[in-house]
């Protein structure tokens, strides 16, 4: 395997991805990501100098609309899906002391 993923890298990716991995999962993730990157490295065979990166297949421009509210107040139904709700608001864990 050409790509060796270090413990630091997998730790960093865990922070970015907001995922908590135990030791066994970390080892598996290192292996999986290494072999995926080996596979993706195939793209290095292609000369892409001077090629514009293509994020959208059509030549579309930004779409604007007037800043007007068109949907109604659906707070009650939306909050029904929340794991925690208090006084008509989302309830979140304490974020600072």
């Amino acid at each position: 395997m050409a790509n060796i993923i270090s413990d630091e890298t997998i730790e960093y990716v865990g922070i970015l991805a907001k995922l908590e991995l135990n030791e066994a999962q970390k080892e598996a993730a290192k292996r999986d990501m290494g072999s995926m990157l080996d596979y993706i490295d195939k793209l290095g065979e292609l000369d892409t100098d001077g090629i514009e990166p293509m994020s959208h297949v059509f030549d579309v421009k930004n779409v604007w609309r007037e800043d007007v509210v068109t949907n109604g107040d659906d707070r009650e139904n939306i909050l029904k899906n929340a794991p925690g709700e208090k006084d008509g608001m989302f309830e979140v864990p304490k974020t600072f002391d």
């Binding site: 865990g14 970015l16 991805a17 995926m36 596979y39 892409t48 293509m54 297949v57 899906n81």
Partner: protein, 490 residues
């Protein structure tokens, strides 16, 4: 003949002729589900009560002439990543196990306005990440043509529900082949429309620049009729494109004289099973006999499509799936210590392995220091792939090849090696990268009664050429849904 063997269009016509009521159709489907879904597991949710109520409403509207279209009264199944107001929508994930949307996706609204009756929500790979429907939190779906095999994925529940007559048609979504590949494995018709044809509003995003909703159905005429209903310009999806050529049923013409068909040599190289190759080439011969001009050519870059796709799709997935944080909806972990620990524990417990694998890869390729080497590089290769298709479509009206290298694998054989599973998408993935329309039509049966699919690929917004060729093939006695599974068909 059982009502269940009718196509969507035949059923709707029979309802208008008062041979059947909408309730007959809904009850027939519900009883079929009770009989067979314990084996196949096509559905995550069946909305018996809602469907029966809707059946009465739609019947009234048909009777008083408010609804007249060709899908009026037809029971439909919806993939579980497409939001349905008031009806559980899980993406086959633990993290959304209890999510009830407060709105419906635009495609679903269009179907409801046309009088289609939603029966339930179909199983899928978790967040549409997979090729077998085995990554579902709710257990795998089995292939109705042979229950020892997978139905394909990620729209495996939708394809199976159509094949098992547990609905008359279904909606799926296709990010890298997720409609066409299960359609092929289950012997039904499936279409991935041009990017922007169908609104993505209400489709829970996986790879936003690649995702597209489309139909899975029993034949090409149904496909054209469903496309006419679900395609629309929607200001709520900024990538939705305004078109005035959504009259797809006009393309149901049994004539391919002079149609130029390109056969990419790269799609017939090693890795392709002989029985798939033979069935596809036989189908091409049928079109040739009807006057199509067939030529082989080199498409190039085929081997680069999968690494490009996984880089882009994983990057977009890592961003799209950030919203699942245990606050606004879905699962939240039981015990935690502060906000960040809650996020991490919720996501780690809520997502399955394949989803985590792609989120981590996506986070990595977008991270500072690796962005240029991986993500930007993939976007450049995407431009090259699009260019290769542009060149091909300057010479050909459509491209034809296989949908997948093999017929459906056995259950439990794919997940152990992710890259091997990704390879099953080699012929479908570049279509998404280039935003093109693609279609899968049954073209034969291989060993163990497993269906084989023919893939038709068109230039952007040229779905009509695909429908025309597929219809001509079907008229010539091409493989039809009713030919499978030992059904009597008459």
């Amino acid at each position: 003949m059982s009502i269940l063997y009718l196509t969507a269009l035949e059923l709707s016509a029979a309802i208008k002729e008062k041979k059947y009521t909408v309730e007959d159709a809904v009850k027939a489907v519900l009883s079929r589900i009770k009989e067979s879904d314990g084996t196949f597991n096509c559905y995550i949710t069946v909305d018996e009560e809602g469907a029966l109520k809707e059946a009465a409403d739609v019947q009234e509207k048909i009777d008083n002439g408010t609804i007249t279209g060709p899908l009026a009264g037809v029971p439909v199944a919806i993939k579980d990543n497409i939001c349905t107001e008031g009806l559980l929508t899980t993406c086959a994930s633990k993290i959304l196990y209890n999510f009830v949307p407060t709105f419906s996706s635009e495609a679903v609204i269009n179907l409801k306005n046309a009088g289609a009756v939603i029966i339930g929500k179909t199983n899928m790979d978790e967040f549409a990440m997979g090729s077998t429907t085995e990554t579902s939190h709710f257990g795998p779906t089995k292939n109705p043509r042979n229950p020892e095999h997978v139905p394909g994925g990620s729209s495996g529940g939708s394809a199976s529900a159509v094949a098992a007559d547990e609905c008359f048609f279904a909606l799926g979504s296709d990010t890298g082949g997720s409609i066409r590949q299960p359609a092929s494995y289950c012997g039904v018709v499936g279409m991935k429309p041009t990017y922007g044809r169908v609104s993505r509003y209400g489709l829970i995003a996986y790879g936003s620049s690649l995702d597209q909703i489309g139909p899975l159905c029993k034949d090409v005429s149904d496909c054209a009729a469903i496309m006419e209903v679900i395609c629309s310009h929607d200001p709520k999806d900024s990538t939705s494109v305004k078109r005035d050529d959504n009259d797809f049923t006009k393309a149901l013409v049994d004539d391919v004289k002079g149609m130029k068909i390109g056969i990419p040599r790269d799609y017939f190289k090693e890795g392709l099973d002989d029985e798939v190759r033979d069935a596809v080439l036989k189908a091409v011969d049928v079109l040739k006999e009807k006057g199509a001009v067939v030529e082989e050519f080199d498409l190039s870059l085929v081997d680069y499509a999968i690494p490009t796709y996984y880089t882009i799709a994983a990057a977009e997935a890592s961003s799209n799936l950030e919203r699942f944080d245990g606050i606004k909806y879905g699962y939240r972990t039981e015990e935690y210590n502060g906000l960040h620990n809650m996020y991490k524990k919720t996501r780690s417990e809520g997502f399955g392995d394949e989803v985590k694998r792609r989120i981590m890869l996506g986070s990595f390729v977008l991270s500072s220091g690796y962005y240029d080497a991986y993500y930007l590089k993939a976007l450049k290769v995407k431009a090259l792939i699009k260019k290769a298709f542009d060149e091909a479509f300057s010479k050909y009206d459509i491209i034809i090849g296989p949908v997948a290298p093999t017929t459906a694998p056995k259950l439990g054989e794919s997940l152990s090696d992710p890259i091997a599973m990704y390879l099953s998408d080699i012929y479908t993935i570049s279509v998404n990268l280039a935003g093109l329309p693609g279609m899968s039509v049954p073209c034969g049966t291989g060993k163990d009664n497993l269906p084989i699919g023919l893939q038709l690929i068109g230039d952007c917004f040229n779905e009509k050429a695909l429908i025309r060729a597929a219809y001509a093939y079907e008229c010539a006695g091409g493989c039809y849904h009713k030919n499978f599974g030992g059904k009597d068909g008459d």
